[in-house]
Every structure is written in structure tokens, then in C-alpha cells.
Amino acid sequence: MKIRNTEHRDEITLQMTPMIDIVFQLLVFFVFTFKIVLPEGDFNIRMPSSSASQSSEPSETPLLKVRLRATDSGELAGVQLNDNQFSGETPFLQLHDDIRSMISDAGGPGSTDQEVEIEADYNLKYRYAMNAITAITGEIDANGEQHKLVERVRFAPLGE
């Protein structure tokens, strides 16, 4: 058997430069296209048009009306549930507690077909409407679990 002479083996030198070039190009591409995406979530609301909803069966429970009033600049001026006016620093928390006590009386949270209608001033900033929807639809308990309160939320038809 012929044994190969290993004494003068050629030294293999890897050409690193092109690889590093490409790697840097890739890196630059990913750095530039990188965008921090904030987690987003939805409130799923089924809102048929008012004419369609009128033809459907009317709910047994009376409709709760939440009235959101706005100042001229669109800030929140007042929150009202039926005839109950909420004041102070945390009107939405009071609204939430009020609705929860009403729902709890009527067979426990989440088990109701209670409908809430939000009537807001035209120029009210949307974030307050979102706060109202949050207060109406549910809560997060101390363990971080979500509990549903009222699922049927709708906006009042716009006045002309």
C-alpha cells in the first residue's frame, strides 16, 4: 500500500473577506427593516345596522345607555349610565363597578344578554370611547385572568 507523504501538505487558507461582506450586508438589511411591533388587540363587536337589529327579537333586559360628554377640545366632560352621573377622577372605574353590580344581580357576569349602547359626543377623543368599552366589556382580575361582563356593545345611531 502506498502511503501518501504528509510532510508537505498544502496549507488551505479560507477566504473570509467575501463571506464577511455578505454577512454584513445581511446584517445591515435586517437592522434597517427591523421595526418594533407593539402588540395590538381587538374588541370584537357585532353591530348589525339599526334597521336589521330592530327586526330581530328584542332583548328581555332593558338597554343600558352610557352617555359620554365631551368638552370643546374633545376631552372627557362627563360619564353617565342611564340617569346616574359619575364624577371624580375615575368615572370609568365607577361605571365599571356600577355595571358589574347590575349584571351580578341578574345571574352573574358573562351570563347575560344585556346590551349597552354608547352615546358619545361627536368630537370626543376616541380613547375615551375605548375606555368606556373596556369598562363595559370586562375586567382583569388580580391573577391576570380576563372576565367578561357585557359583550353586546353598540354605538347609538348618529344624530343628524
Binding site: 473570509m16 463571506m19 464577511i20 454577512v23 454584513f24 445581511l26 446584517l27 435586517f30 437592522v31 427593516t33 427591523f34 421595526k35 411591533v37 407593539l38 402588540p39 395590538e40 388587540g41 381587538d42 374588541f43 370584537n44 363587536i45 357585532r46 353591530m47 348589525p48 345596522s49 339599526s50 336589521a52 359620554l68 365631551a70 374633545g74 377622577e89 375615575t90 368615572p91 370609568f92 372605574l93 361605571l95 365599571h96 358619545a120 359626543d121 361627536y122 368630537n123 370626543l124 377623543k125 376616541y126 380613547r127 375615551y128 370611547a129 375605548m130 375606555n131 368599552i133 373596556t134 369598562a135 366589556t137 370586562g138 375586567e139 382583569i140 380576563q146 354605538f155 345611531p157 348618529l158
Partner: protein, 154 residues
């Protein structure tokens, strides 16, 4: 003056291995976090925060996304509109496409509404009403997730 011999000045090769390791790690990181699917997001919209806004459990089937900016503009299908009538005609076109090319009912199509926190609530209502007139029923009001309570509780 004695001049030092420069006889042994060979090519100095730095050790590239740690740098390449790091670079590959960076590339792997960026490849994993990159998200090409967020085409429906628009950086001009600053969504209102809510602790209850939860990501959909399953992605919507061909949803329509309507953006509303704080400067009273509507963005639909990548086009900016200032008038509600423009949005209505664009939506009408969309309904015709859905009716003609899909078997879906309009009441099963989800309309995602991404409105800025400073947008007018009345405008959001107008958009919803315009959609309702075209027989859309499912709406997803989009908000940004929040770790803290946004209604003033703990």
C-alpha cells in the same frame, strides 16, 4: 541611531472567529424577530390603550382594515381619503369584489377599525354606520395592549 530591523513584519491576521460568531448571532436574532405580516399597520396611527384588547385567537379571513388618523383622514387600501364619501365608494367597490369573487357573505367579513386615540368618536361611528349600510356586521375595534389598567383601577 539604531534602526530596528523590520525583517519579520509578516501579515498580521486578527482572529475573526468571535466577530463572525457575534454577527451570525445578530443575523439570527433579526431574522427571528422580523415580521413581514404587519402590512396592515400604519405608523401614523397611535392606537388607544386597553388592558382588555386581546389579539385574535385565529387570524381573520380577508379582513378589511380602515385607519382613522387624528387629523380626520381615512386610510383604506393604502389610499388616504379626506371625505367619508370617498371611503364609502371605496368600500362599495370592495363589497362588489367580495360578492363577485368570493362565496362569503358580507356579514361574515370582519372590518378592522384602527382609529387614533385622538380621532373623533363621531367619525368612528360614521365609519361603522357606512359599513353597516353596506351590510357589514362584524367589527374589530383595535387597541394597543396595556399592562396597566386604563380605566383607573389597579
Amino acid at each position: 541611531m539604531r534602526i530596528q530591523s523590520k525583517g519579520k513584519s509578516g501579515i498580521v491576521e486578527g482572529d475573526l472567529t468571535p466577530m463572525i460568531d457575534m454577527t451570525f448571532q445578530l443575523i439570527a436574532f433579526f431574522m427571528l424577530v422580523i415580521n413581514f405580516s404587519d402590512v396592515e399597520q400604519d405608523q401614523r396611527i397611535h392606537l388607544p390603550a386597553s388592558e382588555l384588547a386581546k389579539p385574535p385567537t385565529s387570524p381573520y379571513e380577508q379582513p378589511l382594515t380602515i385607519h382613522l388618523t387624528s387629523t380626520d383622514q381615512y386610510i383604506f387600501g393604502g389610499k388616504e381619503m379626506t371625505q367619508l364619501t370617498q371611503l364609502k365608494s371605496a368600500l362599495r367597490l370592495e363589497t362588489q369584489i367580495i360578492n363577485r369573487y368570493t362565496s362569503k357573505k358580507l356579514s361574515d367579513v370582519t372590518v378592522i377599525i384602527r382609529a387614533d386615540g385622538d380621532a373623533k368618536t363621531g367619525q368612528v361611528q360614521e365609519v361603522i354606520q357606512a359599513c353597516q349600510e353596506l351590510e357589514f356586521e362584524r367589527f374589530a375595534l383595535r387597541g394597543k395592549q396595556s399592562e396597566v389598567s386604563t380605566i383607573g383601577g389597579n
